[in-house]
């Protein structure tokens, strides 16, 4: 069940410069207004009943690369580029974030957010993890808290739901981490989970452009890797194109993809590839900063495979960032306890309506939805 959240005029008007305040460039410092938002949003539901989720499940639907399903033209095999790893001292930095819904409030949802930056340099992995940030989303908090708009969450065109707001909150944190990485890493390869498609309400082009710009000025290449894509060629996913290729290789599908879209509002800030980074790995969609030359792009990908571990075709830094940011069941439990202890949210088990009505016949998937 989704809670509807009405848009607040205050929130609409006060789109902040969250991504750019100078004090946020220090990765050890978290933007204060983000923390304020968390505290205030839970303060607003003090004493509320929270129907805790009985099992761990993701707060959001699977993250696709932003586009609707597209059907592309066939691509000739002669366009395949073999990938040879190239040794490099360039640092590899990966960013990932996660969200989760902790429980349903009387007037909203208790949520949490966490992000991680992992840096590979000199053969050693190091990380900075941010969060968890626990906050509530709902009519009350959304309307009354100016901070919500100050976070940099883009306004909604009409009515929206918790899932969408949560997704945008996550994007805000992710962009902050990406921007922090792009400012602090010199001559590196910055890995992002997802795509460089911008211009959607979830992904404003201006913000992605600034991240890319900042990275370019620092001599870094931004590479986005998407585990799931809706792009299809001849009724199969574009990643299937490289599924049975015996070697690491790269396929440029940029023209096929971009030709399908008008120049506005969706903007492809990255050049789109299908890539198989390791011989026995899985193929992924990869977007590389469009302003890099073809040679720089290819070299960055080769250096990525020559520097990072690409077990199963997925860079280790990004895998670690994902592991560090995701929530386990005990994290969820701890955050529920935190909300109860610090803000007096009263936790009660969520009623399983179907299970209550149908007993053992209301089990399986439907029992949890």
């Amino acid at each position: 069940m989704n809670h509807r959240i009405r848009q607040s005029p205050t929130a609409q008007q006060s789109i902040s410069n969250f991504l750019y305040p100078i004090d946020t460039l220090n990765p050890s410092r978290f933007p204060q207004h983000f923390l304020d938002f968390c505290r205030h949003s839970i303060e607003g539901v003090r004493g509320d009943l929270a129907r805790a989720e009985p099992i761990l499940r993701s707060g959001l639907t699977p993250d696709y690369d932003g586009e609707s399903t597209l059907y592309l033209k066939a691509i000739g095999e002669d366009r395949l580029i073999p990938l040879e790893p190239a040794e490099s001292n360039r640092p590899v930095v990966a960013v990932d974030t996660s969200t989760i819904k902790l429980g349903e409030l009387e007037d909203g949802t208790l949520c949490a957010l966490r992000g991680a930056i992992v840096r590979l340099e000199g053969g050693h992995y190091a990380y900075s993890r941010y969060g968890p940030l626990v906050f509530s989303l709902g009519n009350h908090s959304y309307q009354s808290l100016e901070e919500f708009g100050n976070l940099g969450v883009t306004p909604f065109a009409g009515e929206t739901n918790v899932d969408n707001v949560l997704k945008r909150m996550r994007n805000v944190l992710e962009r902050w981490l990406q921007f922090t990485a792009s400012c602090t890493v010199r001559n590196g390869i910055i890995l992002i989970d997802g795509s460089l498609t911008a211009g959607t309400p979830d992904n404003p082009a201006k913000e992605v452009e600034r991240i890319l710009d900042s990275a370019r000025r620092a001599g870094s290449a931004v590479v986005a890797i998407s585990k799931k894509t809706r792009l299809r060629i001849q009724n199969q996913s574009i990643t299937d194109l490289l599924e049975h290729r015996p070697q690491a290789c790269l396929l440029d599908v940029d023209d096929e993809v971009t030709d399908q879209f008008p120049p506005y509002p969706v903007r492809f800030l990255g050049r789109v590839f299908v890539v198989k980074l390791a011989k026995c790995g899985f193929p992924f969609r990869m977007d590389v900063d469009r302003q890099l030359s073809a040679q720089e792009t290819l070299m960055s990908i080769r250096e990525l495979t020559g520097t990072d571990i690409v077990d199963q075709g997925y860079p280790e830094t990004l895998r670690i960032a994902h592991i560090l940011s995701t929530f386990t069941a005990s994290d969820v439990l701890a955050m529920q306890v935190f909300a109860a202890a610090r803000f007096g949210v009263q936790l009660v088990p969520k009623i399983m309506l179907r299970r209550s009505l149908f007993g053992p016949f209301g089990t399986a998937w439907e029992a949890f939805h």
Binding site: C38, V134, L324, V337
Partner: protein
């Protein structure tokens, strides 16, 4: 117990599971009171095991931590400090408890057929003194301490008329506890006999520095053949025949011949060792019987335990009469061969049984260390039936629990269990009737040295984990070492 409250998770039969947060300090053996806020009653629960609570997602957490610890370094920016809650959850423990009783209107009760409220119950640590205060304090003695409570006392009358067992693997403190019991009984005026296989009780009257202490006159060390000697008159035919047949395996037909010889000498008033030797040598029985009798006689004679001099013979009745305010006869059997041990014990027990049956002795406490080395099979049943009724109250001390018959375990009134880690040993001691096997197995395997699980009347049938108090007497039983520094055994 400040901090987080404990919570009832589950109850099944007499088992109860409690959730315990890391700040709570609870150990195996502790007693908790589960007080139902809606009723004026509480359950008495003893913790028998402590496990990690099965928190969902803990495997993923630990795997993630494992990755971080070995190949990653980094910082956690946790402005809301939620991670501390995660740490608390990871260390949340599950307490496995056994319901031992209840408290109703401030009094102990055995009515446990009710369920405390999960929501309204408060759980607090319970003082073991509350459990043992039902014991008569007439012959009070300090048994030791628990982790929280420095003085745990009991009453010696709970050993009176009882069958007791002290067992545990070597080096855990069995002898230390036995010495405490022996000295406490003597102080209360009880007659005690110690069958001392290692010669470690002989100095109970001396302080750690070797000086004689006030108990010294009450400790009578006896060495078979030296100051523990009997005359044939004292022993009597029946006792001696028993010794010959049970300790020295004399065949029945030879025993009949021996009885005839004995009666002839008795009629002639010539019951001496020298007369007995001549009578056997001159008897007109078959050569094989004569050989058998001569061989046994030589063994008895060589032992030095018989004397024809009435003045050097030990008069047990007189000894106890002279020490009517309590004493311990310590029979030092150190370095003695097996047959002599058996002869000594046969003679001694027969003589003591005789004194008790003729009311010449009110009652007697016998401490038998490693009794299987000298006690014959038929005595095991005798000890729990006939001898007990005569006033012969035995405490078995052993580090080999399988040497004590299972019937003894089932009928034991008090048991002091020190550490056992061997499954076979734990299986044997778990046959005790006074407490469930799960409690024994869970608690005993983790007991540190000098700590024991006390079960039975001596703790008002509320099993207690007790650290036995130090003794102010010289203890010779401690294991000797060649190297000064010892690696602590697990």
């Amino acid at each position: 117990m400040g901090g987080f409250p404990l919570k009832i998770l589950r109850k099944e039969g007499d088992s109860i599971h409690l959730l315990c947060f890391p700040r709570e300090e609870v150990e195996k053996g502790d007693y908790l009171l589960v007080r139902d806020g809606l009723k004026d009653r509480a359950l008495i629960v003893q913790i028998i095991d402590i496990q990690y609570a099965n928190i969902p997602g803990i495997l993923e957490d630990l795997l993630r931590d494992g990755i971080s610890e070995f190949s990653l370094s980094g910082d956690d920016v946790d402005p809301l400090q939620v991670s501390s809650q995660i740490a608390v959850l990871k260390d949340t423990r599950l307490l496995l408890g056994k319901i031992r009783g209840a408290v109703e209107q401030g009094r102990l009760s055995r009515d446990v057929a009710w369920l405390p409220s999960r929501n309204h119950s408060q759980i607090e640590v319970m003082a073991p003194t509350f459990l043992t205060e039902t014991l008569a304090a007439e012959h009070s003695f300090e048994l030791g301490s628990t982790r929280r409570y420095p003085h745990i006392a009991s009453d010696l009358s709970t050993l009176d008329g009882r069958l007791n067992i002290v067992t545990g693997r070597k080096g855990t403190g069995k002898s230390h506890l036995t010495k405490l019991l022996v000295t406490s009984l003597i102080k209360e005026g009880a007659p005690v006999v110690v069958l001392d296989i290692n010669g470690e009780y002989v100095n109970l009257g001396r302080g750690p520095d070797g000086r004689q202490m006030h108990l010294s006159p009450k400790i009578i060390a006896l060495i078979p053949g030296l100051n523990l000697r009997f005359s044939l008159n004292q022993v009597g035919l029946s006792t001696l025949l028993g010794t010959l047949t049970h300790a020295l395996s004399l065949p029945d037909n030879s025993a009949r011949v021996f009885a005839r010889i004995w009666r002839e000498l008795e009629d002639q008033n010539q019951l001496t060792m020298s007369a007995l030797r001549s009578a056997i040598a001159n008897s007109d029985c078959h050569e094989s019987i004569k050989d058998a009798l001569q061989a046994r006689f030589n063994t008895l004679d060589d032992s030095g335990i018989f004397t024809d001099d009435q003045h050097t013979a030990l008069n047990l009745e007189e000894v106890f009469r002279n020490h009517h305010d309590g004493c311990a006869l310590v029979v030092n059997m150190k370095n003695q061969y097996a047959a002599l041990r058996r002869i000594t014990v046969e003679l001694l027990i027969s003589k003591l049984t005789e004194l008790l049956s003729f009311q010449k002795l009110k009652a007697l406490f016998l401490f038998a260390e490693e009794a299987h080395l000298y006690l014959r099979e038929t005595y095991w049943d005798d000890i729990v039936t006939r001898m007990r009724h005569l006033g012969f109250f035995t405490t078995f001390v052993t580090n080999q629990p399988d040497t004590i018959q299972s019937s003894i375990y089932r009928q034991a009134d008090n048991v002091f269990l020190f550490n056992f880690s061997n499954e076979h040993d734990l299986e044997i001691v778990s046959k005790l009737a006074k407490v469930d096997a799960e409690t024994i197995k869970m608690i005993v395997r983790d007991l540190p040295p000098h700590n024991c699980l006390v079960i039975g009347d001596i703790v008002a049938n509320f099993p207690l984990v007790i650290r036995v108090r130090p003794l102010e007497v010289q203890t010779l039983g401690a294991t000797r070492h060649f190297f000064e520094k010892q690696v602590l055994a697990a």
